[in-house]
Amino acid sequence: MTALLTIIIVLFVAVALWQMVKIFDLAQVGTTNSQVADDHDNKINGYLMIGFLIFIYLITILSFWYLGDLPLMSNAASEHGVEVDNLMIISMVVIFIVQTLTQFILHYFAYKYRGEKGKKALFYADNTTLEFIWTVIPVIVLAGLIIYGLFTWNDIMNIDEDEDPMVIELYAQQFSWKARYSGADNVLGKANVRLIDIDRANVLGVDEDDPNAADDVIVTELHLPVGKPVVFKMRSQDVLHSAYMPHFRAQMNCVPGMVTQFGFTPTITTADMRQSPDMVEKVKNINALRLERKAEIEEAGQDLVYEFDYLLLCNKICGKSHYNMQMKIIVETQEEYDAWLKEQKTFPNSLN
């Protein structure tokens, strides 16, 4: 209903504006109105250009004010995430400076050099020095960003086997996630969708004859010990999915027919993250907003009070329920993790 009302109001506003322009046009009958801009138009639009510059600055400031809590630039919960955030901040500062300056020059010139009858423009067609300068400056800035970026990228994507990362399989299907821990041997049992046997609850198609599969553990909630390097081996059984773990600055597509991988080291436990001042603030804010929508939220069967948890989201369009394909991630101490793992059934025990 709100939406409909909005549309109607907007329509009326449009009609009103149109009528005003009509009146404006009619008032001009008799004067020479060639539909080509005259000095009056140049002046008004010149001023509006300055107005628009202010609008751009204003929307920038307001966006920072209201949406400036940028979880993807601070609070990284993984080792490489800190590096990524630094690069992100440097890039943002460069962008911010260039944006502020060039928009100023563009709109200021549009205002300053607005046309007047009898004025003549400067015939100025070329200046090699100037063009050289604004070719070289971007080259230097970009060279810096490229080099920094490539080092960071290589650092993230090269998985250091010496650190003995824990191998976990992330398994995607329409529209849920599962995780398979490789167990004490740290080797995943072989698997293929052709081995899936729903009746026996072998939903991941793990090879029962593979001894490596004997200690595998399949779960629907991801637990990670803090400070321990992890490498995720990703599979999908049907369409493309993307395992997106924003707090860990991690993302990789899950592709049917191949295994993709991404590794990182979580550095902050869920409990610690919940207590970080930024997060406390954010959660407080969210809960205040949720209280306003109390009825709606309870009707949808959700908990009213939100508590922070790391999440794994699907971030590649995968069909109807793409918008609700998520898995909770819990980062905890090694002891908590060990205790949790002990309670889970191993793969052979989980079969019917």
Binding site: A14, V21, L72, D238, M252, P256, N285, I317
Partner: protein, 598 residues
């Protein structure tokens, strides 16, 4: 006016308007490039209206996800039972919106309109090299538009796999309702579209190379023609690759091959596909998909360069650098496609290579932006609506382009890939910018197309509302993206994590609705001025290029007399030593006057 070609040059070209034109040959199966341009424009406009309406609907869904909406019930029918939008149709709207805007509006509508209109007129040719192929090209485009619209009414729903139609989602009807008949029609429509685009591009290339009038050397061409020419070359290189991808996908879908599919278990059964890879499709798709971005933006850049020079009453700054940067962008555009695939599972080394080539594109882009700004420096700016849209183009191109530095950097892309940050980036840099270029072109060349002027006050109103709304919609999206919100989510209500973004989404939607509705001002102006607009003068903007030497009333063959010869480049504005502030290209050099060394 010395530039005007008067009508006593009849000794040559008597054959120009011999045959009698019927209604059908003049307005429907026309082979005249000016009429074909108008056909492209009007078809593109209709498709644009559909595309914008879709975006307003899915924006309303994002802003008010649970509320029943009368508009949905009225427009979507069974897809919105009780006025609540279905999740499948949400994805379909997103998919078709993208397809229509990228291909039907900003490729065919923009390039098709202005390449057809301006290439013969500005190079001094009677028509395209092949008028017949040109007609076929338009009608194939029309056919593909019709098929795309028909696909909206398919029982199981239109294609809903995103405009990138990645398999297996697009290949398996069990994975998505839209991947049945809806996707078949999508693929057929696109295959026809590509054929149309190729015929058009070949025609543009041949015409520019062969039919330039005497004196029109490549270094005297207006930048519009350079842009159209290079665009056509990129199109010919990359569109066939998409066609091959579409054909292979059709084979996988209908004939059981496994080019893109392997090891699939869906709805309780294992499918026979073995050995293919969706990543291969991604490579093929983006080998077109990325150049496509430049197919969209280069013509807009050309139009904007021309309009800025004319309305600044100044030569374009750095003509040679502008051409060089067009060529550099075109070259680089074919070797950067992998930046869409950093996290697709391809070898990370490739990610490094594509990061490098991608960030290089920022250099020619920066050169262009600075050259435009220098063009208006110390000009005598005539603030016609076309000029406003051109300045708006530079503004959004800078804002949108800068964030490319983040997305093109593989290490940072991990984080913001497929979030609203990407939506903000590409809508500003190629969506809104190209649309502004198109509007600028329409306001500028409307007198040439229809012989009448658009109302300037409606034009101002149109520009300022659109400009404010474009920033209002897309600027905050950067921040929503940096908060980690994925794109293509039907609703965010399952993620309390994103609850603090809900208000921003409502504001964005309100801006989108106002901006969308404001286009009514433009549509009214466009159609009403055709009949009631003020009659145009021959050269209303006092430009130098050849199209303004043709008569206002269209004639087949463009010039009633001989084709004018060209003696100078197209940017002699405010040249010292002349009384007027523009010297048309067909005016011979004065005694002792030197042509600028450019």
């Amino acid at each position: 006016m010395s530039a005007t070609i008067d009508t006593h040059g009849h000794e040559e070209d008597h054959d120009v308007h011999h045959h009698k034109e019927t209604f059908i040959t003049k307005y429907i199966f026309s082979i005249d490039h000016k009429m074909i341009a108008k056909q492209y424009l009007i078809t593109g406009t209709i498709m644009g209206v559909i595309g914008v309406l879709m975006s307003i609907m899915f924006r309303m869904q994002i802003a008010w996800p649970e509320e029943p909406n009368l508009l949905f019930e009225a427009v979507l029918g069974k897809w919105a039972p009780g006025g609540v939008m279905d999740a499948d149709i949400y994805l379909a709207l997103v998919t078709i919106h993208g397809t229509i805007m990228v291909f039907f509006v900003l490729t065919a509508g923009l390039s098709g309109t202005f390449s057809n209109l301006l290439i013969p007129l500005q190079i001094g040719a009677r028509d395209m090299a092949s008028g017949f192929l040109n007609m076929v090209s338009y009608w194939l485009f029309f056919l593909s538009s019709v098929i795309m619209v028909i696909s909206l009414f398919v029982e199981a729903g239109p294609a809903a796999a995103g405009w990138t139609i990645y398999p297996p989602l697009s290949a398996l009807p069990m994975a998505s309702g839209g991947s049945g008949m809806g996707m078949t029609l999508w693929l057929v429509s696109m295959a026809i579209f590509i054929a149309s685009s190729l015929l058009g591009s070949l025609n543009y290339i041949v015409t520019v190379i062969n039919l330039r009038t005497k004196g029109m050397s490549m270094t005297r061409l207006p930048l519009t023609i350079w842009a159209f020419f290079v665009t056509a070359v990129i199109g010919v290189i990359s569109f066939p690759v998409l066609l091959s991808a579409a054909l292979l996908l059709i084979m996988d879908r209908s004939f059981g091959t496994s080019f893109f599919l392997s090891d699939i278990f869906i709805q309780g059964e294992v499918l026979h596909y073995q050995g293919g890879s969706p990543v291969l499709f991604e490579h093929l798709f983006w080998f077109l998909g990325h150049p496509e971005v430049y197919i969209v933006i280069l013509p807009a850049m050309g139009l904007v360069s021309e309009i800025m020079a004319s309305n600044s009453r100044k030569p374009i700054f750095g003509y040679r650098a502008m051409i060089a940067s067009i060529l550099a962008i075109a070259f680089l555009s074919t070797i950067v496609w992998g930046h869409h695939m950093f996290i697709s599972g391809m070898n990370p080394f490739l990610g490094s290579v594509f990061t490098f080539t991608t960030l290089l594109i920022a250099i020619p882009s920066a050169v262009k932006a600075f050259n435009w700004i220098t063009t208006i420096w110390k000009g005598n700016l005539q603030m016609n609506p076309a000029m406003l849209f051109s300045i708006g183009f530079v503004s959004t191109f800078i804002t949108g382009g800068l964030t490319g530095i983040i997305l093109g950097d593989s290490a940072l892309d991990i984080n913001v890939h497929d979030t609203y940050f990407v939506i903000a980036h590409f809508h500003l840099v190629m969506g809104i910018s190209a649309l502004y270029g198109m509007f600028a072109g329409i306001y500028h060349w409307y007198p040439k197309m229809f012989g009448r002027m658009l109302n300037k006050n409606l034009g101002y109103l149109h520009f300022w509302i659109t400009a404010v709304c474009a920033y209002g919609v897309f600027f905050p999206m950067h921040f929503i993206g940096m908060a980690g919100l994925p794109r293509r989510y039907y609703t965010n209500s399952n993620f309390p994590l994103f609850d603090d973004l809900a208000n921003a989404n409502v504001i964005i939607t309100i801006f989108a609705i106002i901006g969308g509705v404001a286009q009514i001002v433009y549509l009214y102006n466009f159609f009403a001025s055709m009949f009631f607009g003020k009659k145009a003068e021959q050269n209303p903007w006092k430009s130098t290029t050849l199209e303004w030497t043709t008569p206002v009333e269209h004639i087949h063959g463009n010039w009633p007399g001989a084709i004018p010869h060209v003696y100078r480049w197209s940017y002699d504005y405010s040249k010292p030593g002349h009384d007027v502030d523009f010297v048309p290209q067909n005016v011979p050099l004065k005694e002792g006057e030197e042509e600028l060394q450019h």
